[in-house]
Symmetry: C2
Subunit: 148 residues, 2 copies
């Protein structure tokens, strides 16, 4: 197996081409990983989520890591790791543009919703909606490719 | 989609049946995810790794999270998350039994080696070997299944 480092452009292309990854957040030195459906746009990963442990943890500590990989030929693979920062997009006037943008990006995919959550047919507009929209600001990205 | 919680036995079976997961470690509140090849045995995940960032971080903070998932029927999936603790198995007399056990478990698999690393044909026996053997002690395990 030959291993090489991916360029920033190659990393970005892999993030754009995929929509399933794993997100890790941390609290008091304890990491926590969950699968993640995301849509990549403009140096951010946009995510639609139910409230829960990961949201609580990221509100307390916005530093996150997101990892996305894909299979190559034979035993080959590519893996990208994002060092990122949680940014919630609450349903307030000041965030309407970002929220609409997130909706527009995410609704391009057929199965972007949180596992187990029902897909709403229109963007949630009131504070009573249980869904949380957030994005991960990509501080840094790195990747490797292994090929036979 | 129906979502239900997996029992501890179901979580353990999923860990045993798979050997690719994602590991997160953390340093100064910053998490870091990498893909992981492991073998499950006796409440531990055994891993063979090249030295690098994750080993340095886990030596500094042994708290880790490991996530393993598998696809179900249709859009169904199962996902298990381990709260664990890094335990290095250095090549010293006092750890020979654990090291031999780790080797025995890992060598049952055809492709368990670290991505990019050459698979050694015999267990490394001297301190000059670059490989690091370690295991994750499973403190707690939880899982969910979604089915259509």
């Amino acid at each position: 197996m030959m291993v090489r480092t991916l360029s920033a452009l190659e990393c970005t292309r892999l993030l754009t081409a995929n929509r399933v990854g794993r997100l890790a957040c941390a609290k008091n030195g304890r990491p926590y990983i969950v699968p993640l459906y995301y849509a990549h746009a403009d140096n951010h990963l946009y995510v639609f989520s139910m409230p829960g442990k990961k949201i609580e943890w990221m509100r307390g500590n916005p530093l996150v890591s997101v990892q996305v990989d894909e299979r190559g030929q034979g035993r080959g693979w590519r893996s990208v790791v994002v060092d990122g920062r949680y940014e919630e997009l609450p349903d307030r006037v000041g965030h309407k543009r970002e929220r609409d943008h997130a909706w527009s990006v995410l609704s391009k995919h057929a199965d972007w919703w949180e596992p187990g959550a029902l897909k709403p047919v229109t963007p949630p507009v009131s504070d009573s909606a249980p869904h949380v929209f957030f994005r991960i600001l990509i501080d840094q990205v790195s990747g490797r490719e292994a090929s036979e």
